[in-house]
């Protein structure tokens, strides 16, 4: 506990965020065991109910238990974030690494593509990609991942450019190291740190993007619960049951906050200038 806190730069908020996320992941994995009701069980006789002993957070427009849907929405939201960021990392990191390391026309070409992709608003691209691939969580998150990829590639490229100038890379070349060894042993591990931080921060952005796309009806498809989808539904009942929009909104807010807090703490924890002291 103490060492964890030390590692996170004595940042108590980050420890709290980490615990929140661990709890959330546990909740997500064990949703069926924890949630008091099935997330899709309708009770049309008891719709938009206020919180009660039976339904702690009330029921939605089809009489489903809001708490259960919130819990069952966690895996979708977390999976969505992880998938999007995973896709972005899988594309962005190697591309950035190659561009930065190889330089020359490869770098020029890749950088131009990156600039292009970064020069129009991501969500428009995401909507376009979702349109192309079809509505649904996986597609939407692939789209978001593709949208994030150029940003990560640019970061990775910049990092690689810095690291490849490092003397230990030169030293390794003098020992006759192969390109792959230099990339894997020296460039990657040293370039990837800010990327790790960025990835953590992106998890929050992805979560928000998932919520936005689900809100627009392009993301998680009902009846599978998702926080963004719950908000979209709540939007229709804003006058009748405004409380419907609180729980999913707060869930998104807190999760995004936790990812951000953790990311910022990592940024500080991984800062080499701090380490050297």
């Amino acid at each position: 506990m103490k060492s964890l806190r030390d590692w996170l730069g004595g940042n108590s908020a980050a420890v709290l965020a980490l615990f929140f996320l661990v709890a959330l992941f546990t909740l997500a994995l064990m949703a069926p065991l924890i949630a008091p009701f099935a997330p899709t069980a309708q009770n049309l006789g008891n719709t938009l109910a206020e919180p009660s002993w039976q339904h702690w957070m009330g029921t939605d427009d089809l009489g489903r238990d809001v708490l259960s849907r919130l819990i069952h929405g966690a895996p979708a939201s977390l999976f969505a974030s992880l998938l999007a960021v995973g896709v972005a990392t899988a594309i962005g990191v190697p591309v950035g690494l190659l561009a930065g390391f190889l330089g020359g026309w490869v770098d020029d070409a890749i950088s131009r593509v990156i600039d292009t992709l970064l020069s129009f608003p991501g969500i428009v691209l995401a909507i376009g990609v979702t349109g192309a691939l079809g509505i649904g969580l996986t597609n939407a998150m692939l789209a978001v991942g593709i949208v994030f990829a150029p940003g990560l590639a640019r970061l990775m490229r910049a990092q690689t450019l810095v690291v490849k100038q490092e003397l230990y890379v030169d030293a390794s070349r003098c020992f006759g190291a192969s390109l792959s060894r230099i990339l894997l042993k020296h460039v990657m591990p040293n370039a990837v740190q800010p990327v790790i931080v960025q990835v953590t921060l992106l998890l929050a952005v992805a979560l928000l993007a998932e919520a936005s796309l689900s809100f627009l009806g392009l993301g998680v498809q009902p009846p599978q619960p998702s926080w963004g989808g719950m908000l979209a539904r709540a939007y229709n009942y804003m006058e009748l049951a405004p409380e419907q929009m609180y729980a999913p909104g707060i869930a998104i807010l807190l999760t995004a906050l936790a990812f951000n807090t953790l990311g910022e703490a990592l940024r500080q924890a991984l800062d080499p200038t701090r380490r050297r002291r």
Binding site: F120, P121, M245
Partner: protein, 320 residues
Amino acid sequence: MLANAPRLMLVGRRLVQFVPVIVLATFVVFGLLKLVPGDLAATLAGEYATEERIAQIRESYGLNDPFLVQYGRWLWNAMQLDLSRSFQSNEPVLEQIMHRFPTTMLLVVGALLVSLVVGVPLGILAATNAGSRLDVAVTSLSSFGVALPNFWLAMILVATFSLSWGWFPATGAVRFGTDPAGAIWHAVLPSIALAAGGIAEVVRQLRSALIEILSSQYVRTLYAKGLSPSAILWKHGLKNVAVTLLTVIGLLASRLLGGAVVIEAVFAIPGMGSMVVRAAIVKDFPVVQGVVFTMVILVIAINLVIDLLYTIVDPRVALK
């Protein structure tokens, strides 16, 4: 000050550089939409569709031509500022964009102003009191701002300020040209919803940049010269931080433009965002292309202006 030869050269060079960006961007989008499974012609035919009608639509819209021919045709026309017509409504896309552009811009500029007007003082306050309780409060608030889903905030604002209290309109927009006051009145809530993240971003960036500047070696020199702390902050601190601020503005402009898409949906604002979402969904290529084209040009233009401002604010940005 702006209009000297090196700056014009910079503008020229940038414009040349950005031609491939525009071509590439529109090509990517065009290709993306073409990948879309599903028959555009069937969609266009709508409720009265017959097999014959669909085939005929396909023919008349040139949908049978090879992909590159279609794209080439679009690009050729776009170069002559003819963004062709919407498949859906047959209205010229350029007109449609010009019509909606001011609405979206009002929203984005409004959000940008709110971000700066609120964010800059908070950022300065936090940086000059770094480590204090005030700083902790401001930075925590900005953390919340970054994590806040803007459409959720929009919903809460609508529920509170329009539906419960009736202070602001719940939906829609008014064109600035016809009724400036009404336009602003309509833009207040969406701008605030959109600006929440922007405020947080401005605070964070400004705070960290200003802290770095205030702990820099040259600020130490300024103290050593006997300057007062306020002179250091307001003269040197702000001029140096202007570079960061410009970068943030550039970043925000693009991000707010994207955020407008969702916010326009919540408030039913007929802007470019809702237009492109709709068009993307019904595969109205000319409209999607047109909006992407406009947004790319807009982002490029913003970046160009920011680059020019850099040359004023930061002499290190060389003009060659």
